[in-house]
Symmetry: C2
Subunit: 325 residues, 2 copies
């Protein structure tokens, strides 16, 4: 039973996990969907009520029925390395590859449809609320008057993009910034704007969830309150491992269950009272920098999750994406 | 409690359903996401563990907590009617709108994530197999040798696109065509190809599923066997209502449950033995032409599904997209 990793060629984070899997003697096939068709080939057959297929790359060939898990790391867009790329060929290739992989009984980290839904920030806030996580008061709006009224109630505000990362290539992170309550909010009519009560934080928390395992790290905040975004903060303090409060652990497990995610990188802001405020959950968040600072075995934990055999895969219910083979 | 319809302005199919809803006195708001931001505005607030929001268009304003259902008909791409469209603004607007709508307890026809997954043809074939529907032997491949071997076993073949419709604007349907078993299959290496055993059909079947209601129609096939694709067939016979065999009904219900769809347009080919062979399920398939020919009340059935009140929405489990408000 093989682990399939979908990612681009240059991916040191994937390299860490591949090394763990190889060290444990687990067969791994790694491929980039951008190489289909061409170096990556596939074939799937539906005959007499049964399905069998295979995917090959270079000299490696794996039966889709022999997959134990699929890790969707940083896959390229299908059919983008062919001589004449087209939207149509990309669509055909994506449908063929992901449709076939969905037809297997393999476990996903993360399932593409769940991953896509999980990117919606407004939905994240609602799932966090429903999971019992503290969520800072937030407004998402295109209505200037709504923004003004919110700023009156919560004068200490930050503004963020709704969708997270600017979709240029390479992606550009847009920093979270403070905004004055008497700001001119008329421009929100031209694009949805996310306003959030600023948490006076004493630390940033990154909680990495891998299946049932939770690994949290903490980084003290810099005293200068203008630096609200840890990614742009001048702090040179390293991340340190920190215990996860039991109530937070329960809520995070609940969040992952609702979102149907096997992996999530949660960002919290810890305030002066020690409360962890939910900021976001990135279903494809990086973890290498945390592992480097803290020594927490995140790559190994992911490898263990990917390598795990289901207790009895044949007894699983026939249901969405959990079909028996 | 309001029904929200996401579709473009010119949509006679939506008009039919709106007329049914209005006739029954059910409040309806219809909007095109392409008009956000601008004519369509939104605002959502997450405060003290609760969520409340609203969407407005023209002089209509609807509370997202007051939505009973959302019909995703033919929505435009968000933010494409602004003065300066951009990928970034589209992403921000899509996240804001769909993220907020996902935060409501409204029922979806169909949920965007389920709809997206349901478009995968290889996955459709597998779900159909697992639901007990007869599926013609099918191969999806980029491997010429696999295509040749399949053609030897099943010499009477048709070839189809994997993904359905050519994504040009306006969309162009690619006809299903017969292919000789001694054809040169070397070109499949350049793009995934779907080969399927041809069903010698005596009729085409269109089964429209709306929640638990199944409405099937039948159109006799033309004798000329070269016309395998009903969309390009010269038949002038009208569609006629036909009863759904109980075994097919059970399987279709199972398919919809697995695919988490509230609406699906199933295409079958009926062979000389009366067997209905599954060809595909289009989660956004048209139904106007069937209603016109058969008089089947499909628009009214959709309106009834959209108008239905859940027996007790507050007792629903907190789960993916079924969150309590």
């Amino acid at each position: 039973m093989t682990v399939l990793i979908l990612t681009s060629e240059q991916d040191v984070t994937a390299d860490m996990v591949v090394a763990e899997l190889s060290g444990a003697g687990v067969p791994v096939v790694r491929l980039d969907p951008a190489d289909l068709p061409g170096p990556v080939a596939l074939s799937g057959e539906y005959v007499h009520g049964a399905y069998r297929g295979h995917v090959s790359t270079g000299d490696r060939l794996v039966s889709t029925n022999g997959l134990r898990s699929i890790w969707v790391r940083r896959p390229g867009v299908p059919a983008t390395r062919v001589a004449e790329p087209s939207v149509w060929l990309t669509e055909e290739s994506a449908q063929a590859l992901y449709g076939m992989l969905h037809s297997t009984g393999a476990r996903w980290m993360n399932r593409p449809d769940a991953a896509r839904r999980a990117r919606h920030k407004p939905w994240q806030l609602r799932v966090a609320q429903c999971s019992g996580l503290p969520v800072p008061a937030t407004l998402i709006t295109t209505v200037p008057q709504a923004a003004r009224e919110f700023a009156e109630r919560f004068p200490d505000l930050v503004v963020k993009p709704v969708s997270g990362t600017h979709p240029q290539d390479p992606p550009r992170a847009v920093p979270t910034t403070r905004i004055a309550p008497d700001a001119d909010f008329s421009a929100v009519a031209f694009g949805p704007t996310l306003l959030q009560r600023r948490i006076a934080k004493r630390a940033d928390i990154r909680l990495t969830a891998v299946g049932d395992r939770l690994l949290a790290a903490r980084k003290p905040a810099v005293p200068d309150a203008d630096h609200v975004d840890v990614r742009f903060s001048p702090s040179t303090e390293p991340w340190q491992p920190v215990n996860v409060p039991p109530r937070i652990a329960t809520s995070v497990h609940d969040y992952l269950r609702q979102a149907e995610l096997a992996y999530g990188a949660f960002d919290f802001a810890e305030d002066a009272d020690g409360i962890w405020w939910f900021l976001e959950c990135n279903q494809s968040g990086q973890f290498g920098f945390i592992e480097m600072d803290t020594g927490q075995p995140i790559a190994r934990t992911i490898a263990e999750w990917l390598a795990r055999h289901e207790p009895d895969s044949t007894s699983r219910p026939v249901g969405p994406l959990r079909m028996t083979r």
